[in-house]
């Protein structure tokens, strides 16, 4: 089902867990499969360009979700924000030697999380936001809405 690379990242995920004082965080989720991810980034500046100085994920999800989170941090780490914005689900899946078709949404989700964190960072800092990134933000919001819907329906936010 999963490639060696997926299993390796799943069993020994990189950069997972809390981050103290992140510069931005995001939360995305896809209720269809119950995956939920939080992304934390710290942004640094080098030669006048902002870049991902540190990145961490917290992931509730299947092996693919955990593996894509992990590999996404590896892909994003040290990249400029513009480079990181352009990390797409295909890049993530490729890095993992492919994902089962049905699990492609998981790599989608970790890309969403990364993009959304950058969006939030840029918004907070009053930076220019490309049309592309805005679109990505809308998508990320949508995954979450669906999650909230399901959660509300089941009264999960009530206690």
């Amino acid at each position: 089902m999963y490639t060696k690379e997926v299993m390796e990242h799943f069993k020994n995920p990189k950069n997972m867990g809390d981050m103290e004082n992140p510069d931005a965080t995001s939360r995305v989720g896809n209720p269809a499969c119950g995956d939920m991810m939080e992304t934390y980034i710290k942004v640094g500046e080098k030669d006048g360009e902002k870049y991902i100085e540190d990145i961490k994920f917290k992931t509730f999800g299947c092996a693919a979700a955990i593996a894509t989170s992990s590999v996404t941090t590896e892909l994003a780490m040290g990249k400029t924000l513009e480079e990181a914005e352009n990390i797409e689900e295909e890049d993530i899946a490729r890095e993992l030697g492919g994902l089962p078709k049905i699990k492609m949404h998981c790599s989608n989700l970790s890309a969403n999380g990364l993009h959304e964190a950058i969006y939030r960072y840029k918004k907070e800092e009053g930076m220019d936001i490309s049309e592309e990134l805005k679109k990505k933000h809308t998508i990320a919001q949508k995954t979450l809405e669906k999650t909230e819907e399901v959660r509300k329906k089941h009264g999960l936010d009530e206690d």
């Binding site: 867990g17 989720g29 499969c33 939080e38 917290k58 509730f60 999800g61 299947c62 979700a65």
Partner: protein, 397 residues
Amino acid sequence: MKILDFDGVYADNNATTPIDPRVRKAMTPFLEENFANPNSLYNHGRRSRKAVEEARERVANMLNCATDEIVFTGSATESNNHVIKGTAFARKDHGKHIVTSKTEHKCVLEACRWLEGQGFEVTYLDVDEEGYISPSELKNELREDTILVSIMLTNNEIGTVQPIEKTTRIVHDESSAYFHTDMAQCPGKMEVDVGKLGVDLATINAHKMYGPKGVGALYKKKDLDIDPLLHGGGQENGERSGTENVPAIVGFGKAAEIVEERWEEEGEKLREMHQKLVESIQGSIDNTEVNGPVDGRLPGNMNISFIGVEGEALVLRLDDLGINTATGSACSSEELKSSHVLDALGKGPEVAHSSLRISFGRFNTMDDVNTVVEALRKEVRELRSITALDEKGKTGD
């Protein structure tokens, strides 16, 4: 546990069981020199016939019914489809209403759904938080045109044991419906006496009771009117055609013989293991939620959610430690839908997503319980350390 060459702990006995070595031994001659078709005239064929009929006796003995009330099929799925569609077509002039429950095995539910497309009407009974149907609700749903009620004896995911004795009485008192029970999960773990249960029809298979895959049985009370599902050469007294799967049937017979001798003792052992498993988990891991009843469930079956830990991930982590388990998480299914059984309990999706089924069987030992609990402690801790849901199942904000 050490069955044959399997290193590790096989704790997925509700999915399938290993073949008992005694069963395998009984099958061997029929995979080798005794290969003849039991419908053949010559001695070689008559040996096959005799073996099939002896197996039938053993299965009948286990279920406490007459030999000619056992029909061998290819699987529990086939037995269930046979009963449901066969009753529908045979009795359609009498009525077109069927009653079942929301937590039946898919093969019952999908057969019913197909019949809905053929003009039949199906009532799917709700279950409560522990998975029990309500006999009084069932009573209310019975109609003059109800031809079949199909309620499983025990649920394969959450181990709920339905009050079948009580239910059959209601159905027989209040209607002319046949009563069918799917008890594929029960032999070897609890009593399976069709007479005591009062059912008209019952489904079992071999591969959940240490027998081979590819063979099931249907208990069918004499004189019931049910169309065959497999028409043809008229084998199985015309009820189920096709060359008999002799080795598998022989294995089924042997498996039934062992079950008949050992079920009480083995059921007791499984209950003890379950007791220890629950206590150990609850004693050392926070924020768990048992799915299904706490007491009186199918011996050996445990279904528990570790809130914040997705099921597929946990199953795969345990697999890495040599432990085989299952989950009702959507992530584990082809359609990304969580278990319809867990859904029917009315708990939130996070509960289904973080469910783990641990099911023990004949070849497990108390050591296996310890191994599983220790592994769970480690993996649940690790997965929780990286989860985006807190231990109440909520996101961290």
